[in-house]
Subunit: 338 residues, 4 copies
């Protein structure tokens, strides 16, 4: 249930709403907008609470039931766009943010070479996997903490904040120490304990869409992060699983305007994992920007043929630099920069 | 099997290839490119023919087996982009072609108003359904031949060529008399008799992708048209069926670079049927252009709320005009016009 | 809208309902059940008709709006199970009906050998394709009318009624002359003109589910047949297209109880096309019978390795005979025979 | 790479294979079959190892490369069926094992009532969720450790071993203390850290298929458990996500023979989560048994209407008892009991 306070309602009036909610064993989250305060009443039995119990309180403008399973990620709770702040960077702003780098951190040389190349081409965040979720236990699983150290070193040397995936609740503290942005991967989108732990850190977090998650389930998963008071959340569309197999996944381009309409959270698009092949990445990246994405996350490897994972989908540094140039006029056509 | 002749090979040499193919009961199609001739050998038993029987002939440069089920639609058969010519218009050229109009022809007033509006906004082809494929037999089925007459009238009065759907082999001759472009709808993509009849007309034809057809099956369906000698074929991506239901279908944006890589045929995108809701159409249309589509087909209705079919996905004339303006800089960023 | 008459309502009372419907430009279909008459009111604008206009008429027990797009195929219109009568055989009865034979009719020898084998093993209907829908125009397309003649000959010699596919409205009359049951294939499930023509014949017809059709769309397609007064309709589940590719399609086993709950039409299952591989056919066939299917349609070829189409999914005669034996106790456990 | 030793090969010969593998930095797993020993050589770079290095060793019969990503779960590694032993019960044997109970443990009364009912009806394992993965953070999340205690109490009082889900690596030790079988849920099928921790326990574990996982990915996930030396693994098919929405998921009935052909692991089917509605459960359960499932896991609630989660899909105790009776002749028809 969403309780919208009147413009100019007093703190005491808001507090009365909160008290009544608590007396009914409901949780409360507040959006203190610049113009008005919105209070979300949360709990498994809100359906049985009479909305009039809140509508009659002083200072309350309206009470709305949200039938969809997500509440905190919804535009009803927070009409204005959210922005995620990282070291002066802002995700969700007019500048489209590009995260780039190798699928997996493999070595100091590989990572630094990639980091310098993507920075030169205009990327503003360095990506690289230290813990890798792999289909088979016998595939390369990433360098683990050593990979995190290399990422931190690359950040210091090159000057780009870093994003890397966290796979397990037991690693949340560790990864948070090194990463500027935590990435929750597609396979973990409904790993609810991991979401809760990542939420508790209040660390900027990128939530990838599960490969067969509906938009609704994805936004409900974001609610797990938001429910812990972590407002620094971005979403990432990376392709859904369909019957078509000429690309590895089907990037759900329609999800971009759908998410923008229904949620206030910034939306990043990952053309690399969707495509599965480097030759498709530029077209998908351009489409994503044109459709309104707030950013891109793109795999770039100094030597894709020798990559330890997913080499086929990585761009070379020079292909990436060309793509960045080609994206500029598209961003400009939307009144944005990149 | 694809037989590529040497640059400068003689007509007699080509003829010898053709004769040998016929002697083996194979069909033959030729691509007389500006630089070299390519001969496709076609039949259900080409797999059993020894390629050396052709490789040894004079003037033959190479013989390639195509394992994919489509041959004539492939880049191997015809490396250069195909163009479809309609009354001075050219689909597949640097100008992005926009087809627009109502889902169904409902009345003279409705159609003329739509036609004038879309022409004013920059569309170059008028769309409108006379025969409508509807899920239920008790829904409005279109005006039939009366609808075709209204389309012809609109063409004459407004000066736009028209595209309309043909549903059945028995209507191919009738619809061809009125329409500048025949549309084969998604539900008929594998109506092979209809494809064959449309192919025989040599009329420009737009082949929509079936809602669960793979790109491979779609290009093989195009082969049915091409096999009749009809080279005036365009493809149309209109969304595939997936588990996601916030949009009506999931537009397969990855299919755009995939088709462009594997086929020489022009590719149109239909954002309206994919979206199912007008509010999603502009973002998808922009994405399609950015990804490399050669054209768009968009539903526009003078009064969407009173439309007899699919009103929810139709743009108003003013929304369409705004979209056309917003598409211009994206087209320009790719070195194209719209 | 469904108008249920009272038990014992008079013909005059029913006629008054019909007259009022006609005066409102609605079409009418009647289910003259043994206990009571049900009248379906059909048309694109029934939503705007006030149900009280019928509820007040004498002899009317209830008026129900059906929101789902199918009406005539629904249990609301006809609560009791429908049966299709073919030459003494009855589809939808306690005996489970097995249709078997080759994918395509290839020759007199092949067809007769298959026909004798499947009859000996207990099949009661012979299947075989004369017109074949093939992904590529360069694959074997079936023997056409010659194939129909061979089917008729096999029927005469072996004594099994035959089912074969009709692909196009222009062949409906021809195929009806030879076939005991018309088959509408998955790719034509929404070829609405074909459905209408097949409906007009009043010939027993088997409607296969489209490979990405929802159950709702499938039953609405059945309405096209039923709307022409053809009540001899069976449905056929043959697998839907999903991301999984170890079988060719995913047989939708849940659809069996769903269809049985919502529709009165008999339901056949095709394990061969779903599986795409003979080794999976027996398990799927058993599952289908256990879940409540009224029949099976199975591909059997005397020599699968030399089949001109889909040989990999055909059972040998001896495998088919073994399967028929294994199905008996499962049928018996449900109080049925096979 | 799979190294099959000759019948009667000596321990020393096997040891030599192991030593050579270790010298190449490969991991090793052994299947000590009754007839012969099979050694799996595992690692991310087996593709670069020359198979002749093993083929020439004494006692080696054959060396096979497995191209599929799963090795230990494959029939190549272990041709004979695996069995999971729980307290005298054996999953994968001729007796079909039925696990039943409520979706979530809600209270002592609810659980004991359910436990007694399902035992009386013939179930041999009690299911019940203590930690519940829920789409929204504001839904009931399960009783946690209190739920585990109630499960242990029910086991003691009623005498059925219990299965319950573990959601997070940090709970593996805790849940293992209470549960006879650990359940890895569909949303965690590719939570690889959780798989590894569950593998280390050597506790019987049921691995549910992810809702959009291919059979191949599912078996590769089983490899994570097996790679830790845990051989007490069962698989569970519970429906995949498709476009069809009349059931909650589409039970992949074809996966039953596919898994049985390619893997030695026992296979359980969950008709309740696939169906999403109690009325569909019996038909799906029968189909699963007929297709060759080794067991079923079914939701039963003493009072489905008051269930705190998924009440709509739970059977009442009397419906469950009836289903158990109906399953008996189907099991018998396959030479099995239930």
């Amino acid at each position: 249930m969403i309780v919208e306070m009147r413009r100019g309602s007093s703190e005491a009036e808001v507090e009365e709403v909160v008290q009544r909610a608590r007396s009914l064993h409901l949780d409360v989250q507040m959006n203190l907008g610049t113009e008005k305060t919105v209070v979300a009443l949360l709990g498994s039995n809100t359906g049985q609470v009479d909305s009039d119990m809140f509508a009659v309180l002083p200072g309350v403008e309206s009470v709305t039931r949200i039938m969809r399973p997500y509440k905190l990620a919804s535009r009803e709770f927070k009409p204005e766009d959210s922005k995620v702040q990282i070291d002066g960077l802002s995700i969700g702003d007019s500048r489209i943010v590009v995260m780039a780098g190798p699928c997996a951190v493999e070595s100091e040389e590989q990572l630094l070479e990639a980091a310098r190349a993507v920075k030169d081409a205009g990327a503003s965040i360095l990506r690289g996997g230290a813990f890798k979720p792999r289909t088979s236990p016998f595939s390369f699983q990433g360098l683990g903490e050593k990979g995190l150290e290399l990422l931190a070193q690359a950040r210091d040397e090159v000057g780009l904040p870093v994003i890397t995936e966290v796979l397990d609740t037991q690693h949340v503290e560790l990864v948070s120490r090194y990463a500027d942005i935590l990435q929750i991967g597609a396979r973990n989108m409904q790993n609810f304990n991991l979401l809760t732990e990542a939420g508790k850190t209040r660390h900027p977090t990128l939530l990838k869409r599960g490969l067969s998650a509906t938009v609704t389930e994805w936004l409900a998963a974001a609610d797990y992060l938001l429910a812990q008071g972590n407002t620094q959340i971005s979403l990432c569309e990376r392709g859904i699983r369909t019957f078509e197999d000429t690309a590895r996944f089907s990037l759900d381009i329609c999800a971009i305007p759908v998410v923008k309409k229904n949620s206030h959270l910034p939306l990043i698009v990952d053309p690399s994992h969707a495509a599965g092949h480097y030759s498709l990445v530029p077209a998908i990246a351009k489409a994503a920007v044109a459709a309104g994405a707030d950013g891109l996350i793109i795999e770039v490897h100094p030597n894709p043929k020798e990559a330890l994972s997913d080499g086929l989908q990585a761009l070379t540094p020079s292909d990436f630099a060309r793509l960045m140039k080609e994206l500029q006029p598209i961003a400009a056509s939307l009144g944005r920069t990149i």
